[in-house]
């Protein structure tokens, strides 16, 4: 079954003879010099380079406040903010609030995460699980968790429960989706290799499927934590009597922009801490991966 192809030669192509190329004068040749990675480039430590952006931003903010470009009713300057933070730390208010908010986030994440991961493992490993769980989850995930706040309040009242439930709902889905995809996308050639090694089903899951799904699972964790924070901020707007959200609500009523900024910074710091944790987890558990580290 062979077919004959008709070859058409474009007019320009005929003129491109090797002779033309070899005759190219030296100075017309585009050259690139490959620079070695110099040690000089790394004399400034990485963390310092990363820090320079935020420091510059704070400096700008400070200058704007000092010169009156940014009035304190709109946004308190960094010095005022630091002063209020010191006061809040002194009387213990900030620590208490942080602890409460953090424990809310962790409780929600623990509940939502366990549900998400469990469902993903069931759906990922068992055909029956897939049929029963996956379609339902794919349908439910389209509902934004925040839109459920009214229902949650009706179901759980206005105490801790709706806040934690909101965070749990928000975090379950990203973990579910990523762990499930991770399990389903494990390299099939490795599964086959495992079969030729006579791995039992449980050994296959332990040594091949779950480690293969781990990178994706950690991506899910990262998303989940991001959402946990968002959900925390929303949740703490529900009639909080303690926590960072409560601190913020009180400050709003008294037009204390400095305290609001302190709370924002605390949210950001908590977020950074969580991000750092995930990075560390990735470094430990994904050490085997040929990761792109950039330059």
């Amino acid at each position: 079954m062979s077919s004959i192809a008709t070859i058409t030669i474009a007019p320009g192509a005929v003129e491109r003879r090797p002779a033309d190329q070899t005759a190219k004068p030296d100075d017309l040749l585009a050259r690139q010099r490959i620079e070695p990675v110099s040690t000089a480039r790394h004399r400034v430590p990485r963390w310092l380079r990363r820090l320079s952006g935020p420091v510059l931003l704070v400096l700008l903010w400070h200058v704007a406040s000092q010169t009156g470009v940014l009035p304190s009713e709109v946004l308190a300057g960094p010095t005022t903010v630091i002063g209020s933070a010191a006061k809040l730390v002194d009387n213990g208010e900030l620590q208490d609030a942080m602890l409460i908010s953090l424990s809310r986030a962790l409780a929600g994440l623990a509940i939502g995460g366990s549900i998400g991961v469990t469902l993903a493992v069931v759906a990922g490993l068992f055909r029956l699980g897939e049929d029963m769980v996956d379609a339902t989850m794919q349908m439910l995930r389209t509902v934004p968790a925040v839109a459920l706040i009214p229902l949650l309040i009706i179901w759980f009242g206005i105490g801790e429960a709706p806040k934690i439930a909101l965070i749990a709902l928000g975090t379950a889905f990203p973990l579910y989706l990523n762990v499930y995809a991770g399990i389903r996308n494990v390299d099939s050639t490795l599964i086959e290799a495992g079969r030729t090694l006579d791995l039992s089903r449980s050994a296959m899951i332990r040594h091949v499927v779950l480690p293969g799904a781990l990178p994706s699972a950690l991506v899910g964790l990262r998303y989940s934590l991001g959402i946990a924070w968002l959900a925390l901020v929303f949740g703490e707007q529900i009639n909080a009597t303690a926590g960072i959200g409560y601190l913020m609500a009180t400050a709003r009523e008294m037009f204390q922009t400095d305290v609001i900024v302190v709370c924002l910074v605390v949210y950001a710091l908590l977020g950074l801490g969580v991000d750092f944790t995930v990075r560390t987890l990735e470094r430990v558990f994904l050490a085997w991966r040929p990761a792109f580290s950039g330059t």
Binding site: T189, L190, E192, A193, G194, R195, T196, L197, D198, L199, A203, H207, V208, P211, G212, L214, A287, W288, R289, P290
Partner: protein
């Protein structure tokens, strides 16, 4: 060496064994395939194929790309059961694929002993890695291995299982010429030490003639040609008998050997 046999599948009518035993002294073949048919949709890739491999025999399998070599090997490895026919293979089998297929999340030595009963036995892994000459790479991640090192790890992983049948699917195809020669020598040496039957799928006629007791040529879904090679080992490519066998194999592959150099 008596290979323990596993009856894998026995479908369809009983096929009378038409083949006369190649070696009268071998009582039971390590691999026995009768009337093996494999279809992908309408296409029959294997058409009632028969093949025997004696215990300890080194068989090379040649054939044009896409003729079904890997398909046969996967069936022998029990990775594919959508078949018709009769297949018997040893219970103790091991496979090395064209890609090393190491678990990237396990250190090299743990890859080698993965799947063996009991706790991961480091000493055993090291012994196997030493045997293929990369004992010093035991504690690195697979991603940092070179292609040749990874392939040798895969070989160590196969051999540590002490198989009665070793299935090799173009394990050297991705290696450079020099590394390939070393790997071929290694396989020959390991085969003589372990005494397992080997089925080596390859594209390289020279490699087949260098290593195998018997070379099979697959065509149109059956073993179309077979060449027994009784040359002394180690074999010499320059030997006129070697050249004659290579020529006849190239002929049966449909490549005129006048146009084919020492590729």
């Amino acid at each position: 060496m008596a290979a323990s046999l596993q009856r894998n599948l026995n479908v369809g009518e009983a096929v009378a064994p038409p083949l006369t035993p190649k070696r009268s002294k071998a009582p039971l073949p390590a691999v026995r395939v009768r009337g093996l048919t494999r279809r992908f949709g309408e296409r029959e890739v294997l058409k009632s194929l028969d093949v025997d491999i004696a215990p300890g025999e080194f068989v090379a399998l040649l054939g044009a790309s896409g003729c079904g070599k890997s398909t046969l090997l996967r069936i022998l490895a029990d990775l594919d059961r959508e078949i018709v026919g009769e297949v018997e293979v040893p219970v103790r089998r091991a496979v090395a694929f064209q890609a090393p297929r190491l678990m990237p999340w396990k250190k090299v030595w743990r890859n080698v002993v993965l799947g063996l009963p009991g706790r991961p036995d480091r000493a055993r892994a090291l012994a196997a890695l030493d045997e293929v000459g990369i004992g010093h790479r035991a504690d690195v991640w697979p991603k940092v291995l070179s292609g040749g090192e990874a392939q040798r790890t895969s070989l160590a992983r196969a051999l540590v299982r002490e198989p009665d049948l070793l299935l090799l699917d173009e394990p050297f195809a991705a290696l450079d010429a020099l590394t390939r020669i070393k790997a071929q020598d290694l396989v020959a040496e390991l085969w003589q030490r372990h005494g397992c039957a080997i089925l080596l799928v390859t594209h390289d006629v020279e490699e087949a003639v260098l290593l195998a007791d018997r070379v099979l040529v697959m065509k149109d879904g059956v073993i179309a040609h077979e060449e027994r090679i009784d040359l002394e080992r180690p074999r010499d490519v320059a030997d006129p008998v070697f050249a004659r066998i290579r020529g006849s194999l190239l002929d049966s592959l449909g490549v005129r050997h006048g146009t084919h150099g020492n590729a």
